[in-house]
């Protein structure tokens, strides 16, 4: 089969049934735009939650220990997977922090050096709260550890918000994707239905189903490319120009994975896949059912 024939017929198909093609492209565009928007907003929300979670600290206050015992505790703390970073705050440092926070009024008290040395642990953002909580309980029993402070309530709230956002966002995304696929399938089916005379004529002269299908698949691919370009162009414009210009307070987070082309590339890929797959699905079913003689 001539590759040129498929290309020629694919392009011709778009121009011959303009309204049907426009409907397919528009439904694809809406679907891909919504998916892109949800991914960008969802990932930004996730990043924000991660940043907040990273700010949750576990403070391990030590008893009066020599350097060797302190090192033993540091080693043991470092072995936990959830520990993102570990900072030792000596009695002197604690006094300095106290002085800085309370100003001159705190100076005389700080000189008493009553503040204990401690370790400050930041938590890895993917850590389950239950894990940290159970470790914190254990830590309190360690020899040389005086007290452990951990803002359980804040972490619980963050975790539940992240879970709720992920669940709601995921469900919404799934619904949009499902609706988009059904919409794309139906519009492409209508496009193919509008070409039933062509399909009948092709069957009449002995075209194989695969041959009849290929220009439709290429047309679906083209529709995906066009819809993807518009949708990703709009998302790009939205987050590089519209939001910074008109809603600067929302412009605090960047593109997923740091670069615009991951999201826009993904949107293009999704658009092409949906266009191609919707065409394939509709074409297979419709072409097989079309009879030569009505």
């Amino acid at each position: 089969m001539s590759f040129r024939y498929i290309i020629k017929e694919g392009f011709a198909g778009l121009s011959r049934a303009r309204l049907a093609a426009f409907t397919s492209i528009f439904s694809l565009f809406i679907a891909v735009f919504l998916i892109g928007l949800m991914v960008r907003v969802g990932m930004n929300a996730y990043d924000l939650a991660q940043v907040l979670q990273q700010q949750v600290e576990v403070e391990v206050f030590l008893e009066e220990l020599d350097g060797e015992s302190t090192e033993v505790i540091r080693e043991r703390l470092n072995q936990f997977d959830f520990v993102e970073s570990l900072t030792y705050i000596s009695k002197d440092s604690a006094a300095a922090i106290f002085r800085e926070e309370f100003g001159l009024g705190g100076e005389s008290m700080a000189s008493l050096q009553f503040l204990p040395a401690s370790f400050r642990l930041t938590i890895h953002p993917d850590t389950a709260i239950e894990e940290v909580d159970s470790v914190v309980r254990d830590l309190e029993e360690w020899e040389g550890v005086d007290e452990v402070k951990f803002n359980l309530a804040l972490m619980q709230m963050l975790q539940s918000r992240i879970e709720m956002t992920a669940l709601a966002g995921g469900t919404l995304a799934l619904l949009v994707i499902l609706a988009a696929i059904v919409l794309v399938y139906n519009t492409i089916r209508l496009t193919i239905y509008s070409k039933r005379e062509l399909i009948r004529a092709m069957k009449l002269v002995g075209a194989t189903n695969a041959f009849i299908r290929r220009p439709f698949l290429f047309e679906g691919f083209l529709q995906g490319v066009i819809a993807g370009l518009f949708a990703s162009g709009l998302i790009y414009a939205l987050f590089t120009w519209l939001v910074p210009t008109y809603l600067p307070q929302l412009d605090v987070l960047g593109w997923p994975f740091g670069e615009w082309y991951y999201l826009l590339g993904g949107m293009m890929g999704a658009s092409i896949l949906m266009g191609w797959w919707g065409s394939r699905w509709a074409a297979r079913k419709f072409i097989r059912r079309t009879k030569v003689y009505i």
Binding site: R16, A201, M202, G206, N209, R288
Partner: protein, 225 residues
């Protein structure tokens, strides 16, 4: 099936919605033979043709066309059977957005023919039906008779062994009908088997040939005088 038999039906039965359309019919058509298939509206003539190009399958019996056992044919093989047949319908089935050349070329494009071969063959068949000068015209610019000649040209493009024509003169005035009939006879004289469905007895009288009739689901040889 004898060597020169191109169509053969044996004890073939077709049932539509509990209605017996064709009842254990037997029929054969030899290479180069011309045959009319007549019968009242709804008698089963179109079903008979559909069996031949495998748009439907028989409920019983066998159907052999151009060497293909139609009942045993897999879906994938059906297009190859159809390439051995020229099929002409009353309603033309031309593509309105392509010119005459493209409509005929289309039959060869779908079989993967090379461009040069397509051009040569399209010009040949358009000359055969006397429409070389109309190759750039659109279907909407042609008369009914001319459109039917384009359909015949398209059906001949793949050099089939059998021409199946379903009421090819049904939409035409008497003069255009005669032109089409003369064309079909000429094609037949070149050795192609032609099976023509019609209920136009005047045409059958004017161009007498072997005639079979479907009545009450049965097929019988008749003479129209």
């Amino acid at each position: 099936m004898a060597d020169n038999t191109v169509i053969s039906l044996e004890n073939t039965t077709v049932i539509y919605d509990d209605l017996l359309v064709l009842d254990r019919i037997n029929f054969s058509l030899r290479a180069g033979e011309f045959c009319y298939l007549i019968g009242r509206t709804g008698a089963g003539k179109s079903s008979f043709l559909k069996l031949l190009y495998r748009d439907i399958l028989p409920d019983e019996g066998s159907v052999t066309v151009a060497g293909y056992d139609v009942t045993e044919l897999r879906d994938k093989e059906v297009p190859y059977l159809r390439r051995r047949l020229g099929i002409v319908f009353q309603d033309f089935q031309l593509l309105p957005d392509r010119n005459i050349y493209e409509n005929v070329a289309f039959a060869l494009e779908v079989t993967g023919e090379k461009k040069r071969r397509i051009k040569q063959r399209v010009l040949e068949v358009l000359a055969m039906v006397g429409l070389s000068h109309k190759k750039k015209s659109m279907p909407s610019d042609l008369s009914g008779g001319e459109l039917q000649r384009v359909v015949i040209a398209r059906s001949l493009a793949n050099e089939p062994r059998i021409l199946l024509a379903d009421e090819p003169t049904g939409n035409l005035d008497p003069e255009a009908s005669s032109t089409i009939m003369e064309l079909l006879k000429e094609i037949n004289n070149h050795g192609m088997a032609v099976l023509m469905v019609t209920h136009d007895y005047d045409t059958v009288r004017k161009f007498p040939e072997r005639t079979v009739q479907i009545r009450d689901g049965r097929l019988e040889e008749v003479k129209i005088v």
